[in-house]
Symmetry: none
Subunit: 232 residues, 2 copies
């Protein structure tokens, strides 16, 4: 996750040789896209990214995902390093550096984390990520991987929650209504359509050609996405 291909490629290869499973991205947006798709144990992040600042991304990761971050930077003053560490980074390595030292520092961070492993299950159960979205079930909000959050009404939230718990599965209207409406108020089928429409709009899904919240003609709807449960 460095901004220079010349560094990023070889570094990834090098880390891979140490038994680490590595993915790389060119900029903050790429990192967020990766984060939405899979879980990571640790993130190595260059402070100088094109576009969004590495530091702001670091803060986001610390606050929302709790994945350890090691910051990389060229010519960092002590003040820069302090700022990075106080933002939630777990280490700060200044370029140029010996790649073996980076490996050692990665392992040190991971070692500490494993040692103190049993993460408290108490505070909320994290959430789900799918496509470029994160449904944060403890905060009850929907966040895009670019950082913006989208407000969801109670029914929209419940609807998305149901969909996300049954991804790639057709859910008929009756089922969706049962799972969505709180009291057994008799509502007619079509109200779900409206809610789907509203949700699609918030997800940026085009109804003509929906990518995520697809229509199962004559049957119901389904969320077409790979959903991951997030720890936290």
């Amino acid at each position: 996750m460095d901004d220079h291909q010349e560094i990023r490629g070889p570094l990834a290869t090098y880390l891979g040789r140490y038994g680490l499973d590595v993915s790389t991205a060119a900029d903050a947006e790429g990192v967020r896209a990766l984060l939405a798709q899979q879980c990571f144990d640790l993130i190595v992040l260059d402070v100088m990214l094109p576009g969004e600042d590495g530091l702001s991304l670091c803060r986001y990761i610390y606050e929302h995902l709790k994945i350890p971050v090691i910051l990389l930077s060229a010519m960092a003053e002590p003040a820069d390093r302090i700022a990075g560490l106080e933002l939630g980074a777990d280490d700060y390595v200044t370029k140029p550096f010996d790649p073996r030292e980076l490996v050692a520092r990665i392992k040190t961070v991971l070692r500490r984390l494993e040692g103190a492993a049993p993460a408290a299950p108490a505070a909320g159960n994290g959430g789900y990520s799918f496509d470029a979205w994160i449904l944060d079930t403890s905060r009850r909000e929907l966040r895009h991987c670019d950082g913006r959050t989208v407000e969801l009404s109670p029914v929209e939230y419940r609807l998305l929650h149901v969909l996300v718990e049954h991804p790639n599965t057709v859910l008929n209207r009756e089922r969706l209504l049962d799972l969505t409406t709180r009291d057994e108020a008799t509502v007619f089928d079509r109200s779900i359509d409206t809610q789907v429409s509203r949700l699609r709009k918030k997800l940026g899904d085009d109804a003509r050609r929906p990518r995520l919240l697809r229509t199962a003609w004559g049957d119901g709807y389904l969320l077409a996405a790979e959903v991951r449960r997030l720890p936290i």
Copy 2:
């Protein structure tokens, strides 16, 4: 725990000023003596000690005591740092260094540990920090990071305390009432709304678009912030 009195003294004083409780020792034997007497959260260790090597002491501490260690050393080659980290050190700082960076690294190591550990609940009565605020539980007051303090009424204080103990979690009115009212006086739900409104005003939160004390429509309220327990 540095071998030079000229450094050790001032450094201890400096660290003390950051709210850290510090003991010092001149050599490995002194460290071992201290370790036998009391518990430490973290040890800062100079590699070049008279007598027993700092590295061997570090290994001992890692293997037997599991107390985090930050190694200090003058003119360390990457190979030295790697060796130190692989021996179980949690960080390795090369002299000369900015003392503020050392403080930042100490806090980072401690934070990493706290986050993973099951966090002792009762323990300290220090306080909590969230957003730009500090809730001082020993003084029962709310301070902004710009220095000004805000007076809280008893109920406001209890409400904020509850929220701060369950951050990023939706708490319904019933729950908030249970945790907020002292005696089981039957109070109706809506009184919480009033208190929330009053608290929001003091936190400078706009009710139209609350940033911190958010409304979970149809459910309750939640504090949307990263909360940290403060030591002291």
